[in-house]
Subunit: 394 residues, 2 copies
């Protein structure tokens, strides 16, 4: 009757996660801001069942639940972000998609202006909606710095190409490729002059560093629970000004209690429970941002001691995501029997994981939340691997 | 700088879930098929960090990860469902939305035929895409049985109204209001005759009862991880025939590795980990479906012993979701100082939760996975509350 036996299925019951074992340092840029503190791990078990948040739902809306205090939490989260209204979605990109759908309905517009370091999901959201993407260029190698002043030209190009103002302009606050931190205020100002809504993608910034959406002039701020809020996710944060919220949170014609572009309640058991439980941890940790930046700079300096290694992106680092070009390692990989995997495996043997297995031309990592002792271990491991294969370490 | 202090945030660190305490019987229809077995609770902790499944991602696609064995699991899941291809999404409704977007691009069509007992999210997905909804009627009170043969008229009406064949026809396999189980084969046949793709919403069936999509003739089968697969979710299952998969899983023009209508990788840490860990439990439990139906019938009979109580929907029960009209309780609520909340509170005092707080005109519950002892406690609690307020119990 079914195509698989219980016996065959049984192998999935015991899946485990090697990379999380004690003593392993994980440098993965998508993971560093998502690691759960102890209180969130307790919430995992308490709210593990998928609809656990819905036990005392009286209004058919997760954002209106008082017990546990979801409604109050969303209001506190909005305050923390300096925005008026917050809704949760299942991913940051779904928050963006909902915002674009709502803005399109309210204002029209068929072009989206984005920075050229935007995350791939920004392009996909635009493509899924049939929007034209107008890119704001960056300075290219080696800084790849987005030319913020060029938002003006891009907005004008959008209007010329589509015959109407752009639907919105999006800036990736810190990009996922080089970890360049952008000045959101500068873009917000250009958008305001052009009367175009400004969307800030804060997937790599809100939740790990101080960010006040109102102060930087964001009309919409989206972020990622599992990336930067120590939520088990999947969870997107959609924060808006009152004005944009009215446009985005339209109700269904058939079910007037339900918010159309969210497709009703996002089902947010454990993702929401861990976001809530981690919130004090997050509110506290953003105050340590200067120290996090300092740690990133320290490790960048340590890795640049290796022959040929150069930190790409803006210098000095202003963010925890760091990209290095590593031509020395790439030359070794060409001759190594494990090819590009040698670097990953050499580091793993030294208790360091999280760089992309197989890649040696460039190495991307994050220092967020690591102790100085752990960072020293990371630097030492890279130095030893370099020396083992004959690269100079100054 | 931020609008909330660490001290104020601290209250969220200790959120807890009263309704899950030991000894409490939870009858909530959305929850019964989602309760995690022990092996899934272990997976919760092991994969609690949001990107925990991505440690060994080599191809930038969660469905292609070999370690943990996500790729093999999705293939086994497809076999289990009798379908060719499975992808995961963040909710069942997102699976539906992706399918509709892909089918619309491949085939055209601007109307969606749906049964009149469809879940609200089906209507929202159609509305968000600007589709016209053509409803297939049901028999009304007291059975509310969908008139399956009327799919023919609805498909023809769709073609007449929009000048082209319907985009698709959707049947809610077991509906969330009355727990009526529908004969999917009958609708599949009508759809095939009309050359219209058939989507089966199996949110309340796949994962709790045997279901082979190929045998019933589904082109698309969607289901809900947290509703019926003991996954912590949020998680939707999108299962397709090979032919439909080619239409739905189109690649992005900008990022040809990414599936456009999924917006790339759904972020599926703990939702996916618990789906996998629970899979043997699920594969095993569907073989006990006849016993589950028998338990539903038993409780329906027990509650009908109370004056005025009548089971709505198809009789005898063929599914674990049961809706009762309860006019006796509704009369009591009118005079009770706690109004409609009295019933919820009386049951809760007896260790029974999960009926909608505040409602007494109708009561909806699920018997899925409860032991006979627990069901006896439920029956006794209802009987005692009825007797306490002067209702006859035969």
């Amino acid at each position: 009757m079914t195509g698989i036996s219980v016996d065959k299925a049984r192998r999935y019951a015991t899946i485990s996660r090697e990379a999380a074992h004690e003593g392993v340092v994980n440098l993965n840029p998508i993971q560093r801001g998502g690691i759960l503190p102890e209180e969130a791990r307790r919430a995992l078990l308490e709210f593990g069942d998928g609809y656990s948040m819905c036990d005392f739902c009286l209004k058919g809306r997760i954002d209106m639940i008082d017990k546990p205090p979801v409604k109050r939490f969303l209001s506190d989260l909005a305050s923390f972000l300096g925005m008026d209204v917050v809704r949760l979605t299942n991913r940051c990109r779904d928050a963006l998609l909902a915002a674009l759908m709502g803005l399109r309905r309210a204002r029209g517009g068929s072009a989206l202006v984005v920075d050229s370091n935007a995350h791939y999901s920004t392009y996909l959201a635009a493509e899924a909606l049939g929007l034209e993407v107008i890119e704001v260029p960056n300075t290219g190698y080696p800084e790849f710095k987005v030319k913020l002043e060029a938002y003006k030209d891009a907005l004008e190009a959008a209007e010329e190409r589509t015959g109407q103002p752009a639907l919105a302009a999006l800036l990736t606050h810190a990009d996922p490729y080089y970890g360049n931190l952008n000045d959101a205020r500068a873009v917000a100002e250009i958008c305001r002059e052009h009367g175009v809504p400004f969307i800030l993608n804060a997937a790599y910034t809100a939740g790990v560093m101080p960010l006040n959406g109102r102060e930087v002039g964001a009309d919409v701020l989206v972020s990622s629970g599992q990336k930067s809020w120590s939520s088990s996710g999947p969870l997107g944060i959609l924060a808006m000004t009152e004005e944009v919220a009215e446009q985005v949170l339209v109700r269904s014609a058939h079910f007037p209690n339900k918010e159309l572009y969210l497709l009703g309640c996002p089902a947010l058991g454990v993702g929401l429970a861990t976001l809530m439980a981690s919130f004090p941890h997050v509110v506290e940790r953003v105050t340590h941002w200067p120290e996090e930046v300092e740690k990133a700079r320290w490790l960048a300096g340590q890795l640049e001691r290796i022959e040929g290694v150069r930190q790409l992106g803006v210098r000095p680092k202003e963010h925890h995501v760091i990209c290095f070009e590593t031509p020395g390692f790439h030359e070794i990989a060409k001759k190594h029997k494990r090819k590009g995997f040698f670097l990953y495996e050499e580091l793993k043997a030294r208790g360091i994981v999280g760089i992309q297995p197989g890649l040696t031309r460039r190495v991307k990592l994050s220092t967020y939340g690591l102790t100085r002792e752990e960072l020293a271990r990371v630097a030492e491991a890279f130095h030893k691997v370099a020396a083992k294969y004959g690269l100079d370490v100054r």
